[in-house]
Symmetry: C2
Subunit: 339 residues, 2 copies
DNA sequence: GTGAAAGCGCTAACAC
DNA sequence: GTGTTAGCGCTTTCAC
């Protein structure tokens, strides 16, 4: 079966390839009758332009790369939703890459992007990413990068993030307001700006409320370690925390399970609040108080910023940064019976 | 900044473009010393091949399209995980498209694929998809399509699905074994083979156990309707069901909420079992009995089948179909106090 | 309003 | 082992 190309259309209509090309682009140079003929034949033969030929010429792929740690995480899934919505609207295609928190993979992926496969990149770095050379190198090749959620401090570009410090502060304050005097915080990595910001907010809330900050109440739960065991140990401490802040949704399950295992009641013995976009939060046992990030909006904002930059002659991204606020939703896991 | 192409390397080393191309591909035709020189310079100048130029020549994009209804669904998210894992390994790239259960979008997406953007497609159709002409048309253009989970009966190609009939049967039997005499089943669409198969399994289990099938216990919850209201109404029926099978995870939340609203206890008044891959199932209130689909494996299997076909001269997919079994995990939502 | 020519960066066929 | 030639399908001058 013959491949329908512009040439084929040209031959059939006794026109040149150029004319066909222009007609298909609805160029003002081409007469209305000619355009009609071209459109009709194209439809009839089911012509679809070869995207690679076009990309090779124009140096535009109409494709963006999305690099994220996981997709089995409601935050990132919703963010992709937002990204994809904008991409569809703008005629862009979305290449998804999962790093699984592996820095080497992230590096390898970004390196590939230099080959022109994507016009721009939306990135949420791994928890292992300390060095951002690979990102800068990509940007040096004129491939714009927009961070969302997890950004690198030392890279100057658009960043779509939430008010992490404030959210950490609010979560902590919420626990304190509901009677906690020694809340703990669970983090995923000390490399991540989100972790640090949330931790700083936590510290600040303690300070304002004249509570002592204790290093032992900060628990690092990285990919490689057994969070369940670590959390259990934390809760078996002689002076166990009376509140827990999960800085990442994934930690909610091990916290709930550890409490169950130790016969600790949530919220009577331990109050729990998580950074979570899990829609099941309402039907958990007990229902989960949460800092909900505007994941969909963040995805949309990040994609919008990128496409906006892409449409310009000179790519300029620094002024596209945004901080979008999270919201605190109170449910039973932080309920205060003594109030 | 000059773009580093094969030509540039060729000029610098006083070799032809062909030689560079072959050397970079580690061809046996090229001498070891030459290869070394080429590799070294390529590394030095940070050469990255232009993928579009290559694709234009070879007619291979090393890219697959994944078309799914949603990504904010643990099943599909895990499936993507599996797909991406295989793709990475094989050097393929993954373009993700979300239909949001919209048939017109699905059609438009598949049409675009004819432009050579992808070498093959992994597809889980929308709940609205009755007509599969668009899929057949794509396959006519020699773009192989592999279905996973949601397949079209009238398209002959590889299908990676679960044992839906059996799972529906087992879920129903599980409810009956735990004392239900009038279980209801919640479906998303009558177009979907998965819905029909699961429904047939349900019917069969009723029959085997001499229970009467009642049309009013089959509830269609499509995208556009308010499932919560419909479920509530079902549960307010004079002879309300004493068990509910959610044929899709998304329905679990409205079921739990409706029960709470009506002060019906799960599992005392109503037992619930869902087709679900939600990791939070263990910490729900009550914990959720579930038919768990091997989502990751299905994604892997679908991608593997596609890549296998792609690597062959003649694309042959029908014998790559697989049925992978779901498993039933019993938890508290179907607990039988009278046993 | 239309077309001829050139070329994007790469690779395959074929010569040497 | 290496080079020459041609061309993938499209767009972009520039000429007519």
């Amino acid at each position: 079966m013959e491949n329908i190309t512009i040439k084929v259309l040209a031959k059939r209509l006794n026109l040149s390839a150029t004319t066909i090309s222009k007609a298909l682009k609805n160029s003002y140079e081409i007469s209305e009758p000619t355009k009609q003929k071209v459109f009709q034949l194209a439809a009839e033969l089911n012509y679809t332009p070869n995207v690679y030929a076009g990309s090779l010429r124009t140096k535009k792929s109409l494709t963006v790369g999305v690099v994220i740690p996981e997709v089995t995480d409601n935050f990132f899934a919703e963010a992709i939703n937002g990204i994809e919505a904008v991409a569809q609207e703008k005629g862009y295609h979305v290449l998804v890459y999962l790093t699984h928190e592996n820095y080497e993979r992230e590096k390898a992926m970004l390196k590939e992007f230099k080959g022109g496969r994507v016009d721009g990149v939306l990135l949420s770095v791994t928890s292992e990413t300390k060095d951002s050379t690979h990102i800068k190198q990509l940007m040096d090749e004129n491939i714009p990068v927009v961070f969302f959620d997890r950004a690198c401090d030392d890279v100057t570009t658009a960043k779509i993030i939430t008010n992490d410090f404030e959210s950490g502060y609010n979560a902590t304050l919420h626990l304190i307001d509901n009677g906690c005097v020694q809340p703990a915080i669970l983090l995923v990595s000390q490399n991540l700006s989100i972790s640090n910001e949330r931790l700083e907010g936590y510290k600040q809330a303690l300070k304002v409320n004249h509570l002592k900050f204790k290093e032992s109440y900060v628990l690092m739960c990285d990919e490689r370690s057994n969070s369940f065991a670590a959390i259990k140990k934390l809760l078996q401490h002689k002076k166990r925390p009376d509140g827990i802040i999960c800085s990442v949704d994934k930690l909610t399950i091990p916290v709930y399970l550890a409490c169950k295992d130790l016969k600790l009641s949530i919220p009577a013995d331990v109050k729990v609040i998580s950074f979570s976009n899990n829609p099941s939060a309402v039907i958990l046992n007990p229902s989960l108080s949460a800092i909900v990030q505007p994941a969909y909006e963040m995805g949309k904002a990040a994609a919008t910023a990128l496409f906006k930059a892409l449409s310009k002659k000179k790519i300029e991204l620094t002024d596209e940064s945004q901080i979008i606020s999270s919201s605190l939703v109170q449910r039973d896991s932080t309920y205060n019976y003594n109030k």
